[in-house]
């Protein structure tokens, strides 16, 4: 029966997802360029939030400094394109790999600790990387960052960039979905819910957590590469801890026990910043108020709230079918 319900849920989600995808595919020629840019930014941010959710929502890990891996991916690509004469595609592959490598090294130290200590060690290791990037003017451009990073001619138009980012996002989402639904994903969630029992039945808890971190950071690195494709610049605030907390908020905003929730959270966040930021310079104040309202009234997030609300119907349908 559980298998049937799972299938049904995914089938229920398949049509809306396909509908949204078709709308997104035909949208660019119909809307102003600015909206094409904002949508592209939403895709990048959504991927970043989804990658964090693998560690935090599915793994229960206190991944407090996820922004660092995003920044490492972005900086790797930017440095490869500006400082070396290697073919461009190598940079695009090197970005996520460098992020995953950073995730492997930092995660290797972090998984030995639990909960808050895990988070604090990650913040300190991440801040170390931030501090180096922030001050190494000769190499990383210091606090100015790097600007005017070249991109292949095929990505030079805003529409092509949009479609490229959308394509990568869809591939990553499918990959993440497969990972979450795989035996590995199930084990990861079991570890989140009860690490002691998992260890007792012979699961290597730390190794699973480390693999989850590496996968999550790899996707964060992809998001970083897409950011460079879109913005053509990098700056140290990509690695600053406030960004990491913002990604965290996106997961909360959308609902971190749902698959697509963080994506929605990322979209809400970008939209808020863009449109509220237009009218007032106090948009973080509004974000703070929204966040507090959310903590008080919708602790499961927007997506979690709707799932909760419609769950009886889904269950009914499952039992009926």
């Amino acid at each position: 029966m559980f298998r049937g319900a799972a299938k049904l849920v995914s089938r229920q989600w398949l049509w809306p997802a396909a509908g949204i995808l078709i709308i997104l595919l035909i949208l660019p020629p119909l809307v102003p360029r600015f909206y094409v840019y904002i949508l592209s930014l939403i895709f990048v941010t959504a991927l970043l939030a989804m990658s964090l959710n693998l560690a935090i929502g599915y793994g229960g890990l206190f991944q407090f400094h996820h922004g660092v891996f995003y920044g490492v991916g972005a900086y790797t690509l930017a440095l490869m394109l500006t400082k070396t004469s290697l073919p461009m595609w190598i940079g695009y592959i090197a970005g996520p790999i460098a992020a995953a490598l950073a995730g492997l090294i930092i995660g290797w130290f972090c998984v030995r600790l639990s909960q808050l200590y895990f988070g604090m060690l990650q913040i300190s290791l991440g801040s170390l990387i931030w501090a180096i990037v922030f001050r190494w003017y000769d190499f990383t451009g210091g606090d100015d960052g790097l600007h005017g990073i070249p991109r292949p001619s095929i990505l030079s138009s805003a529409h092509n960039t949009y479609y490229f980012i959308l394509l990568v996002l869809v591939i990553c989402l499918v990959a993440l979905y497969i990972i979450v639904k795989s035996p590995f994903g199930a084990t990861l969630q079991a570890i989140r819910d009860n690490p002691q029992r998992c260890a007792a039945v012979g699961i290597n808890v730390r190794r699973h957590q480390l693999v989850a971190i590496v996968i999550a950071t790899f996707f964060a690195g992809i998001a970083g590469v897409l950011f460079v494709v879109l913005e053509r610049s990098v700056f140290p605030s990509l690695l600053f801890w406030t960004l990491s907390l913002e990604i965290f908020i996106m997961c909360l905003l959308g609902g971190w026990f749902t698959f697509a929730g963080p994506m929605l959270g990322g979209a809400i966040m970008v939209a808020l910043r863009t449109f509220v930021g237009k009218y007032t310079e106090y948009w973080t104040l509004i974000l703070g108020v929204i966040l507090i309202l959310l903590i008080f009234f919708l602790p499961e997030g927007v997506m979690g709230y709707f799932l909760e609300k419609f769950k009886p119907q889904i269950k009914e349908a499952a039992e009926g079918g």
């Binding site: 300190s124 190494w136 703070g288």
Partner: protein
């Protein structure tokens, strides 16, 4: 660009600068650590409260026309403003959330820091502000053959005073003992007929008061500006972690390590001075992941 040569006098005075920086860090971190120990919440808004302390110090000292007596009143009043703000936030919002998960509490304090940060922008604007130290603390005196600012010496005196005061409060007063007991077992304390909610409120306000005191004390040495909350809070978190979560003496040790390595970094390799303390933190955490001193967790 390594600094090529420096004398013993340079080294000694730089260590003293580091120590006085460590005193500010300690005052801020002891408050953070106290809240962490009693409430078990990493208070992200601590940095914003520190910033409010510095900005209120600016306004209050302006009110007294930068007089000497005004400075001492500022040191007294600015932290009280911060304590009041934190009391309101705690009673209106925070106290309803204690039963929730840790991550929710963390996010609540982050939301609070966003709101407070923007309120500071609303009240004081985005310009640089500065506070003038009173005449008796201005200028510098020669130590080891190099000029050392008097205000930094003053900070070196205040830091230990705060440490002793906090130790007396936690260990010798009834309130301190209750808050320590509440940290270990809040249900048991409640069963003994003590209003745990108010114990938490008191602990939170005292912790935030210390953030405000740190902000008021640092005001004459820096230019007060938006964004100073982001820098201090990350440093404070790392210091509290390497010291041992919730351990006030750990906060002292951590602050000394952080302040002195930062000052030595300025001497040895100015460009990467900021990297030194982070490296020290990473080394400590790799050797002793749960902090140097015993954590109360």
């Amino acid at each position: 660009m390594l600094a090529q040569s420096f004398s013993f006098a340079d080294l000694a005075s730089q260590v003293l600068v580091g120590l006085s920086r460590a005193m500010i860090l300690f005052i801020v971190c002891s408050g953070l650590s106290f809240v962490l120990g009693v409430l078990r919440v990493p208070n992200v808004a601590h940095g914003a409260l520190y910033m409010i302390g510095a900005f209120s110090a600016y306004s209050i000292s302006l009110l007294f026309g930068n007089s000497t007596i005004g400075f001492w009143l500022t040191l007294f009043l600015a932290p009280l403003v911060v304590a009041l703000v934190s009391l309101i936030a705690e009673r209106a919002l925070f106290c309803h959330l204690y039963q929730r998960e840790h991550l929710m509490l963390l996010l609540f304090t982050f939301a609070l820091s966003l709101i407070l940060g923007d309120l500071v922008k609303l009240v004081w604007g985005a310009t640089y502000r500065s506070v003038v130290a009173p005449a008796v603390l201005r200028g510098s005196i020669p130590i080891f053959g190099s000029a050392f600012p008097r205000y930094n010496l003053f900070l070196l005196l205040v830091g230990p005073l705060v440490a002793v005061g906090l130790w007396l409060f936690v260990n010798k007063t009834k309130m301190g003992k209750i808050s320590r007991a509440a940290a270990v077992d809040r249900e048991m304390v409640g069963a003994l007929g003590i209003n745990v909610s108010w114990v938490f409120a008191t602990a939170f306000v005292i912790g935030c008061y210390l953030a405000g005191l740190g902000g008021a004390l640092v005001a004459p040495t820096i230019s007060i500006t938006l964004g100073m909350d982001h820098n201090i809070i990350i440093e404070a978190f790392l210091i509290v972690t390497i010291g041992g979560l919730g351990n006030i003496w750990g906060a002292l040790v951590g602050s000394l390590i952080f302040g002195v390595t930062q000052a030595l970094g300025v001497l040895f390799w100015p460009q990467f001075a900021i990297v030194f303390p982070y490296t020290a933190v990473v080394i400590v955490l790799l050797l002793r992941p749960t902090g140097l001193l015993k954590s109360v967790w």
